[in-house]
Amino acid sequence: MNVDSIRDGIVIDHITAGCGRKLYHLLGLENVDAPVALLTNVASAKLGRKDIIKVDADISVDFNVIGYVDPGATVNIIRNSELVEKKRIDMPETLVNVIACKNPRCITSCEQELDQVFRLSNRAKKEYRCLYCETKAAVL
């Protein structure tokens, strides 16, 4: 299967197999008016199987979303068909408006203009908690 190289854009590589689709949706890539490729279960020497996302447009991507969904994924920035930067994304300390608190007693459940803020509470367990009510984020 061939997917064309991109000229100006990003490649999110080394995504854990099965996480690509979640990442695609959380990054809102379905709304991008440019070529976007989501490749799943691609053979990988390092991971066995991996997912890859290619966006052929110079768009702004929230790296915190990538770090939250799949810390360890890499982001390659492409300009004029050249790799100009390679980033390894770590888990962010804070997530803003990426996920929503599911606690019906949380203030965010009735005041919907509030930012949805989650803080990393346990790095080893990849656990985030709502800033307001400290409810644990639902597992992705």
Partner: protein, 307 residues
């Protein structure tokens, strides 16, 4: 602007300082009777609470200050759909300090982030109630002379009881503590509370369903009410509400220097016959709450440059 949303917002030194101030207020009330002259406390209570609101208001009056009071969401601008943020900004124009209770968890934090005066969380749903914990700490320190090297029993609703979670979190900062967690299976301390406050700090604890079996080991027995409003389901409430009742018979097995505490109001979980036992400290706890609120109001107004 410094606010207090939860007990960990206060360092151990600040907690100790607040307790010292409270003790000084108890010893020399006259020295404090005009400290807040001309200052206003706004008590915004969007959820029913008699004792906490009265305690805050009594605290401010005893400091010589005044009180602006809002009780019940139905009588306030919240009924018109005003956000907590807007309420906090508005009330900041009238008051020097705000004490807020709200049924939604995290509401006090939203208020604190938007107010231009200090905000004290007077309870945000089932989340935090820091001034209750301040009352608890002062009660233990006054009764035991220390906050370390104690065996603390917590009994009743340990799942939804925010006072219990706050007390565990606050006490876990002191040395040599041991916890005995007494509850029905359905109302055990949530694992995240145990993980964060006990396991992470290697604090020993045991869990049991039998109060009588362990009461003789305890320095502190903290009783809690099984609260109707914390249940989604009335049947669960009715089934569990009478699980643990402290009676004079059970007290006979307890140490002579046990300190029995309760955040109140009680329903029937402590028999009225226990009230005359010198080990019953729950009404002293109420009084201590007022003194700690006085100390906290003083501290926050001073830090805000309003005293």
């Amino acid at each position: 602007m410094r606010s207090v949303i939860d007990v960990p917002d206060l360092s151990l030194e600040e907690l100790s300082g607040l307790m010292d101030t409270a003790e000084d207020i108890i010893a020399h009330p006259g020295d404090y009777s005009e400290r807040c002259h001309g200052k206003k406390l706004a008590t915004l209570f969007f959820e029913p609470s008699t004792r906490t609101r009265l305690s805050f208001e009594a605290a401010m009056y005893e400091l010589g200050g005044n009180v602006l009071s809002v009780t019940g969401a139905g009588t306030s601008s919240a009924a018109k759909g005003e956000s907590v943020a807007d309420t906090a900004k508005t009330v900041s124009c009238y008051a020097d300090i705000i004490a807020m209770r709200h049924p939604k968890e995290g509401a006090a934090l939203v208020a604190a982030r938007n107010a231009s005066v200090p905000v004290i969380n007077a309870g945000d749903g089932g989340h935090c109630h820091p001034t209750q914990t301040l009352a608890d700490l002062l009660t233990i320190r006054r009764k035991k002379g220390k906050l370390d090297h104690l065996t603390v029993g917590l009994c009743g609703d340990l799942k939804f009881g925010r006072t219990v979670h706050s007390l565990i979190s606050a006490m876990s900062r002191y040395e040599g503590l041991r916890f005995v967690l007494i509850s029905p299976e359905e109302l055990k301390v949530p694992s995240y509370v145990k993980d964060e406050s006990l396991k992470r700090k290697n604090i020993p604890y045991t869990q049991t369903t039998d109060l009588e079996q362990v009461i003789g080991d305890l320095d502190i027995l903290y009783m809690t009410r099984v609260q109707r409003e914390r249940f989604f389901n009335e049947e669960d409430y009715l089934r569990l509400k009478d699980s643990y009742i402290l009676t004079p018979e059970k007290m006979r097995k307890a140490r002579p220097d046990l300190c029995v505490m309760h955040p109140l109001p009680r329903v029937n979980e402590i028999s009225v016959a226990v009230d005359d036992d010198p080990r019953a400290c729950y009404f002293k706890q109420v009084l201590n709450g007022k003194y700690m609120r006085m100390a906290l109001i003083l501290m926050l107004l001073k830090e805000a440059g309003r005293l």
